[in-house]
Amino acid sequence: MERLIDLLLDYNVRNIALGSAVLGIISGALGCFAVLRRQALVGESVAHAALPGIVLAFMLLSTRAPLVLMLGAALAGWLAMLSVIAIVRLTRIKDDSAFALLLSVFFGGGLVLLTIVQKSGAASQAGLDTYLFGQAAALISEDVITMSSLGIVILTVLLLFWKEFKLLSFDRAFGGSQGFPMLALDILLTALVVMATVVGLKAVGVVLMSAMLVAPAAAARQWTDRLGLMVVLAGLFGALAGVTGAFISTLERGLSTGPAIVVCISLLAVFSLLFAPNRGLLRERLQAHQNRRRLRADLRTLQEPEV
C-alpha cells in the first residue's frame, strides 16, 4: 500500500498516468464519431502523415515544445487529408487507395527528414524516435499540460456542436435539408479527429495511434445504443487502457508504451464484443440455444397427441 502511494506521488508516474488518461479520454470520445461515420482509418492515415510535420516543425523552429510539434503534426495530417479529398474529387481513384498512398508517402518523406535531422546531430535519436512507438515515460509536465489544454479545447468544441455532430453522423442529408452547413461541420469534426490523433502521438506513437481511436469506440458501442453514453464510455475505456498500459510499460525495460496500451484496449474491445449484455456475442449464442430448445420442446408437444 505504501509503495502504491509512493508510486502515485512520484513526479514521473503522475505525468505518465495523467497524460495517458487525458489521451484516452480524448481519443475515445472523438473515436466514436470516426467509427460511426466509417472513418476508422482516418486516424491511421493522419497519424502516419503527421511525421513530416513533426520533424519539419523541429527543424525549422529548432524547438521541442510539445505545442509546436503537435501543431506541425496537425498541419501535415490536415494537408494529407486535403490531398485525399482532392484526389478522390478530381480523379476516379477511390478513397481507400488515396488514404494508403498519402499515409505511406508522407511517412516516407518524414523518415527522409528524420534521417537528415539525426545525421546533422541536432536531435538525439531518442527524442524524435519516441514518436514511432511512443514513450509515456518520456512525458514531461509540459507535455501533459499541452495535452490537457488541447483536450479541453477539443471536448469543449465537441460539446458546443454536439447536436450538429450527432446529426452529421446519423443523417447528413436531413441535416442539410434543415439548413445546417454540413460541409463546414464535416470539416470541423475531421479537424477535431486530426487534433485528437496528434495529441496522442508522443505517448502511443505514430504506428499505433489509430487503435486508440477505433478500439475504445468499438468497445463502447457494444454496451449502449445512445451516443452520449457511448462517448462517455469510450472516454473511460480509453483512459483505463491508457493508464494500465502506461504502467505496464514502465515495469519492463525497453517496452514501448504504444503496444502495451493497444493490447489493453484491444482486450477490452474483445471482452465487450463477447460479453456485453445486449449486443454481446455470448448472449446471441445463448439466445439461439434457448430458441432451439424451446422449438424442440414445442415440436415434441405437437407430436405427442398422435402417438
Binding site: 481513384i93 487507395s97 514501448s256 484491444s266
Partner: protein
C-alpha cells in the same frame, strides 16, 4: 561494365536491383488491391506480417529459415480472415474491424521483440523501416550465381506471383470487375479473394528486408494508382505499374544518396512525387487536363445555348436578338457574354448585323442538331 558506366560499385547496383525487384513485385499484386478497393487491407497485412515474422522466428530461431516466410504469410491471411469474422458478427463495420485487428497483432509483435528477442538480430527499426543497403552483406549462391539473399527470395516471390496471376488472369480479372457474374459462372469468390491475399502477404513478407513494414504499402498502392490515371486496360495498367515502380525505386535510391538519407523512405517519397506529376499532367485524367476540359465545355455549352436561343427567335423578333439582350435573357455577366460572342464569331456560328445577332448556316445546323438530340427537333 555497368559499374564503370555509372560509376557505381557492385554492391550499390545490387541494392538498386533489389529495390527495382521489390517495387515490380509489389506493383503486380498492388494493381488488384487498388482495383478491388482493398488498399487499407494491404496496409493492415503489411503491419501484421511483422508479427508473423517475429512469432515464426521465436519458434524456429533462425532468421533465414523459409518457415519465417511461410509463417508470416499465414499471419497475413489470418488477418484477412479475422477482419472478415469480425465484420460478419455485424458488431463492427469493416473499416473498424481492420482498425482493431492489425494494431493488436502488430503490438503483440513489438512486445515480443522487446521481451524475448531483444538480443537476437531483429532490430525493430530495420524491420519496420527497412534498410536495403544492408542486403548485399547477406549473400547466397544458387546455380553458381552469387547474389544477395533478399534478391533470391524476392525473385522467387515475383516468379510465384507471375505464375499465379498469369495462370488465373482471366478468372481474377472477371472477379475483380464483375464479382456477380464471376460467382454466377461458378468461380469461387472466396478462393480468388484469399488467393490474392496470400500473394499480397507473401509479397509484403518478402519486401520486409528491403523496405520495411510501413513503406511496403507505398510500393503496393502508389504505382498502380499512378498507372490507373494513365490507362483503362488492365494489362497496360499492370505493365505501367511495374515500370513506375521500377522508376520510383531507382530515383529513390539516387535521392537517398544525394541527401545521405534513408533509401526506403526516399523510395516511398519518390512514389509520391511520380504520382503527383501524373496526377497533375496525365493526358486525360490529370488535374490539368480535367480542368482544361471543364473550361472548354463551359464555353462550348454557352455557345450552344446562344445558337439555340437565336434559332428559337427568328428574323422577326429583333428585340430577342439584340446584343445587349443576351445579358438579360440568358443571365450572363456582360464580360462573359462578350467572350462567348467573340468565340462564337470566331467559330463562324454567328455574325453581328448592326446591333443584332444573326445565325450563320453553320450556326443553324449546330442548333438544329442539338435540338434533335434533345428530342425536340
Amino acid at each position: 561494365m555497368l559499374e564503370e558506366l555509372l560509376g557505381l560499385r557492385t554492391s550499390q547496383i545490387e541494392v538498386i536491383g533489389l529495390g527495382v525487384l521489390v517495387a515490380v513485385t509489389c506493383a503486380l499484386v498492388g494493381v488488384f488491391l487498388v482495383l478491388r478497393r482493398m488498399a487499407m487491407m494491404g496496409d493492415a497485412i503489411s503491419h501484421t506480417v511483422f508479427f508473423g515474422i517475429i512469432a515464426a522466428f521465436l519458434i524456429v530461431r533462425d532468421i533465414d529459415s523459409p518457415w519465417l516466410v511461410v509463417g508470416a504469410t499465414a499471419v497475413g491471411v489470418l488477418t484477412v480472415w479475422l477482419v472478415e469474422v469480425l465484420t460478419r458478427t455485424r458488431r463492427v463495420k469493416e473499416d473498424a474491424a481492420i482498425g482493431l485487428v492489425f494494431p493488436f497483432l502488430f503490438s503483440l509483435g513489438v512486445i515480443m521483440v522487446s521481451m524475448f528477442a531483444s538480443n537476437a538480430h531483429i532490430d525493430t527499426h530495420v524491420v519496420l523501416l527497412g534498410e536495403p543497403a544492408l542486403a548485399p552483406f547477406d549473400r547466397m549462391e544458387l546455380f553458381g550465381v552469387d547474389l544477395p539473399h533478399a534478391t533470391w527470395v524476392m525473385g522467387a516471390i515475383l516468379l510465384i506471383n507471375l505464375l499465379c496471376i498469369g495462370l488465373f488472369y482471366k478468372e481474377i480479372k472477371l472477379a475483380t470487375f464483375d464479382a456477380g457474374l464471376s460467382v454466377t459462372l461458378g468461380f469461387s469468390a472466396g478462393l480468388i479473394h484469399y488467393g490474392l491475399m496470400t500473394l499480397v502477404s507473401l509479397t509484403a513478407v518478402g519486401a520486409f528486408d528491403a523496405v520495411g513494414a510501413i513503406l511496403v504499402i507505398a510500393l503496393l498502392v502508389g504505382p498502380p494508382v499512378t498507372a490507373y490515371l494513365l490507362t483503362d486496360r488492365l494489362i497496360t495498367m499492370i505493365g505501367l505499374s511495374m515500370v513506375i515502380g521500377a522508376i520510383s525505386a531507382v530515383s529513390g535510391y539516387f535521392v537517398a544518396r544525394a541527401l545521405d538519407s534513408t533509401i526506403s523512405g526516399s523510395m516511398a517519397l519518390m512514389v509520391g512525387v511520380w504520382f503527383a506529376l501524373v496526377f497533375l499532367a496525365a493526358p486525360e485524367r490529370g488535374v490539368l487536363a480535367v480542368l482544361r476540359r471543364r473550361e472548354r465545355q463551359k464555353w462550348e455549352f454557352a455557345q450552344q445555348v446562344l445558337a439555340v436561343h437565336l434559332l428559337n427567335h427568328p428574323a422577326g423578333e429583333l428585340e430577342e436578338r439584340h446584343i445587349d439582350h443576351m445579358y438579360r435573357h440568358l443571365r450572363w455577366a456582360p464580360h462573359f457574354a462578350q467572350s462567348v460572342l467573340q468565340r462564337a464569331q470566331r467559330r463562324g456560328l454567328v455574325v453581328p448585323v448592326d446591333e443584332y445577332l444573326e445565325l450563320t448556316p453553320r450556326g443553324q445546323q449546330l442548333a438544329r442538331q442539338l435540338l434533335t438530340h434533345m428530342g425536340q427537333g
